[in-house]
């Protein structure tokens, strides 16, 4: 065992490089996905078909074609069109497009779940539609969408593992290198899975804190969730976004 630990210790720098890459992919992908989700989600709730229909088609397209297909397309096919992206950009872009499409559905349905009376009250105060969405509807929809977005964020973290297929030295790739270096599959992969689990847990804690803040702004204060329980007591039983 001590020998294994010293092997792990010796491998430390590479491993932390891998963790940094995975975290960057996760955060970059999540930021991109969030922007895409906002644009597409808002387009889908407008009463204008010329905005809503293309948005809906984009969402269904990126939900329907698998993440790996999108990644390979960006990595292998795009250069043939004259657009050469480095693997990191490819990875972030594929994650952003794929999870952005799923998140757009969450944004759309959360906005639609905000009480109709809120739209009417805003109208009665003559607030402009843009102002009403920004100041009244979105803050309320935000509290509704965080739990689903948290589920998607963890799925995105798990999804980052595919970038090892396009030569990126992320955590998954580093674990494989550790396996080869230590010659012990069980050890290397247990360490790797544990690191992923802790990352997921940290993301969940962060999202719980965000949710709490959003709910407090709506005047609702409730259970403080933390600890290991927050990830064991799991999320919505729905891989597809809430309907």
């Amino acid at each position: 065992m001590g020998e294994k630990l010293s092997a792990l210790f010796a491998f430390g720098p590479q491993l932390s490089d891998g963790i940094v890459t995975t975290v960057l992919l996760t955060l970059g992908g999540a930021a991109g996905a969030f922007v895409i989700a906002l644009v597409l989600g808002l387009a889908m709730v407008t009463p204008y078909g010329w905005l809503g229909v293309p948005a809906k088609i984009i969402v269904e397209f990126f939900r329907g074609t698998s993440l790996l297909v999108q990644l390979f397309w960006l990595f292998y096919v795009l250069p043939l069109l004259g657009v050469q992206l480095d693997p990191m950009t490819c990875g972030i872009l594929a994650l952003a497009l794929n999870y952005g499409a799923y998140s757009a559905e969450v944004v759309r349905s959360s906005i639609n779940h905000v009480d109709r009376g809120q739209w009417e009250a805003s109208r009665a105060l003559s607030l402009s539609p843009a102002h009403l969405v920004r100041r009244v509807i979105f803050p309320q929809a935000w509290a509704l969408m965080i739990p689903s977005l948290a589920t998607l964020l963890i799925q995105l973290l798990k999804g980052t593992a595919v970038v090892s297929f396009i030569t990126l030295q992320d955590l998954t790739e580093r674990i494989e290198q550790l396996r080869q270096a230590s010659g012990d599959t069980f050890f290397a992969y247990s360490v790797g899975l544990l690191i992923y689990f802790v990352l997921a847990w940290l993301l969940q804690i962060g999202m719980n804190a965000l949710e709490q803040r959003a709910r407090a702004r709506l005047g609702r204060v409730d259970r403080t969730a933390g600890g290991l329980r927050s990830i064991v007591r799991m999320q919505k039983p729905q891989a597809e976004a809430v309907s």
Binding site: D115, G117, A121, R123, A124, L125, S126, R135, L218, G219
Partner: protein
């Protein structure tokens, strides 16, 4: 223009509006359908500036729809609504009924305030923030001015100490009084009250009604009220319109309608409401 305009000559038109000035609200041949369901048909009436009118009638008779049409929460199927003499959502142009652009509609609705059955306060804002949002961003008031005004209004509705509370911490009656203050913060010329006490526990109703009674006594805001509180209607309104099946069945001063209805439908409706 058809001259079936019952409101202009209605016996109850005793408001301060003088002859020759435009009515605050005028419905002209208004029709509203939801699919095949005709809610209002060929409706004509006027409300004079400063007049307080209560709409009564069985549920489904179209009262609430009238308020929602004025607030432009519903779009009318046919006809015209005029606010202070100018068209609200549609106008006649070259002999054709034409919709006005949304921006222009919104400019008109600034003169109109509405209080809802379900309060509809913004839960993501404090009480004070609820009151200053529209004055700041629609009327362009400074934050200091808007806040000063908000405090004055909260004082009027008896909630001066609640300005930093979240709406969810208030009782239904308190929330509704905040909603009234929020509507008044926009200095509306017309105030629409849509069953404002229907969602309240009985013991909270009086607080809200008393605020409105005081308001009626102190201001000359034109009010259109939908309520089942007949005593309140008698106290504040100068005119009552009885609706049935999307049409005006009776229109007159409250004393007359409540004590001496001309139609049996009205009498039946009143005795049913008073029995509750």
């Amino acid at each position: 223009m058809p001259s079936t305009d019952s409101g202009l000559t209605a016996p109850g038109s005793t408001g301060p509006g003088s002859v020759g000035s435009d009515p605050a609200i005028r419905f002209q041949d208004v029709e509203k359908r939801f699919g095949d369901n005709v809610v209002l048909k060929n409706l004509n009436f006027s409300v004079q500036p400063g007049e307080r009118v209560t709409l009564i009638g069985p549920s489904g008779s179209g009262k609430t729809t009238i308020l929602r049409l004025i607030m432009t929460l519903e779009s009318l199927t046919d006809g015209f609504i005029y606010i202070n003499g100018s068209p609200l959502t549609h106008e006649e142009r070259n002999g054709r009924r034409t919709a006005l652009p949304p921006r222009e509609v919104r400019r008109k609705t600034r003169q109109i305030g509405m209080v809802f059955q379900q309060f509809n306060l913004f839960p993501n804002m404090t009480v004070a923030e609820n009151l200053i949002e529209a004055p700041m961003h629609v009327l362009g008031m400074s934050k200091a001015d808007a806040l000063a005004k908000a405090r004055g209004l909260l004082d009027k509705v008896g909630l001066a100490d609640k300005e930093n509370e979240h709406p969810s911490r208030l009782s239904g009656g308190q929330q509704q009084r905040v909603a009234i203050a929020r509507a008044l913060a926009m200095d509306p010329e017309i105030l629409l009250l849509d069953e404002v006490t229907s969602a309240l526990d009985p013991e909270l109703v009086d607080d809200v009604l008393n605020v409105l009674r005081r308001l009626a006594g102190e201001t000359d805001i034109t009010m259109l009220i939908v309520t089942h509180e007949m005593q309140f209607a008698k106290d504040v309104s100068q005119r009552v319109m009885m609706f049935d099946n999307g049409a005006i069945l009776e229109d007159g001063p409250p004393e007359e309608i409540f004590t001496n209805p001309r139609h049996e439908r009205t009498a039946k409706f009143l005795s049913a409401v008073l029995d509750q």
